[in-house]
Symmetry: C2
Subunit: 247 residues, 2 copies
């Protein structure tokens, strides 16, 4: 019986039209706190770890409960446990990060979200590096978002997580647009193609997409038989134990 409470929070990334430019930009939903501490501030969606739930399941459940989106990718980010971070008692937070496809976020309108005290924010506007109108985030969530952003941007370059924003098949332009939105930087189409094809990460399906006012692009899919250097976060929640010196 521990006197430490265990919570999960999730940084949920989606590509949504920028409020000004309209171009896809990394965005994430935050929840307005309705009680102290930090009442009125915006916080990451989350909740408590269920007694019979794995950490990943808890993260998935709480993010669906609060935001309604269903993630296509979920990975552990970091565990925060400073003893003084909550005035109301000792809380340790296991933070996850998630990616969602566009079709999974259209279910609820922004107005419906607002009624639930949920709102989408442009990711880069939250890290405090922009200088402009960053909303007041609860606790240390601004730093958490910054760290999750860094992980996503690092990982998109050597793994296949971009697929979590796309369907089963896609054109190289679609894939490139995802990379561009994530990295917030334009990429040379020809060089991007060369890299993707030489790495063997994607393979053409043979089909083409017609209907555009240009040469019809090929469709690709990720080649799961080739493994990139990933190793990633292990698999989720493998069994592991307290250890040798325990009670």
């Amino acid at each position: 019986m521990s006197d430490i409470d265990l919570a999960v929070s999730t940084v949920i990334f989606a590509l949504r039209p920028h409020p000004d430019s309209g171009r896809p930009v990394l965005s994430l939903p935050l929840v307005r706190r309705t009680r102290d501490p930090f009442e009125g501030h915006w916080a990451l969606p989350g909740g408590w770890v269920g007694t019979h739930e794995s950490l990943e399941t808890s993260a998935g459940r709480t993010l669906v409960e609060t935001t309604g989106v269903r993630p296509s990718y979920l990975e552990q980010l970091y565990t925060f446990g400073a003893p003084d971070r909550s005035p109301t008692g000792r809380v340790v937070s296991v933070v996850y990060w998630a990616l969602v496809r566009p079709e999974q976020i259209g279910e609820r309108t922004d107005a419906a979200f607002d009624a639930q005290n949920v709102r989408w924010f442009v990711a880069d506007s939250l890290t405090g590096e922009q200088g402009d109108e960053a909303p007041a985030l609860a606790f240390d969530h601004a730093r958490v978002v910054a760290y999750a952003l860094w992980r996503l941007r690092t990982k998109v370059e050597y793994s296949r997580i971009a697929q979590a924003f796309l369907g089963e098949t896609f054109t190289l332009a679609e894939l490139r647009h995802v990379h561009e939105a994530v990295l917030d930087r334009e990429l040379d189409p020809a060089n991007f193609r060369r890299q993707m094809e030489s790495s063997g990460a994607v393979v053409p399906t043979g089909e083409r997409v017609t209907g555009g006012r240009h040469r019809p692009p090929r469709l690709y899919r990720y080649d799961t038989s080739v493994d990139l250097v990933d190793n990633g976060p292990l698999v989720d929640d493998g069994p592991i134990a307290p250890s040798g010196a325990e009670s």
Copy 2:
């Protein structure tokens, strides 16, 4: 008041002479379990998180208590929380990895260690990939060790963690020997020098080391003013909270 117990374990790496070849090899101390579950098996050193302790402090304390070594580097690895991993109740383990300098591990002899049910193992012999005499590890600790090994080997190539195995100043050969032991692979001295110097990670102190039967090498130190791409594990245990949807 939670019914989930929170533990910490640490994968402690040191460079010790290989039992056969005598050359420095990545090694780590394990603790023999004296009770069920997994009585008699070897496990990572660890213990319970103190109510008023940060996670990192708990990890540091428990590893000193069980092994007596003082780490020069400590970083969070991953948090494991499958509901069924301990038969004796729900336990969530925050796992850290640590590096220790040689002078910190000489304090206790192997015999003294043995009396406390602590023993050093060659890291690569524990991951189950070698096929030979891997000792039976408790829980899923073999996979944890493998993951920690991967993190260390990945990180030594783009950060300054090798210094955690060295003193304030060092020759490029010493630094290279650390990299070679960590990566378990020989490196070309000239190419290693070129990479280190061009990256700006190290700077010559101006001093040289005499006494060897060869041209006296320069001493170097890490240049902390240049920052490599690290970003690493944030700083430790920043305050963060349960989140929006909490009770």
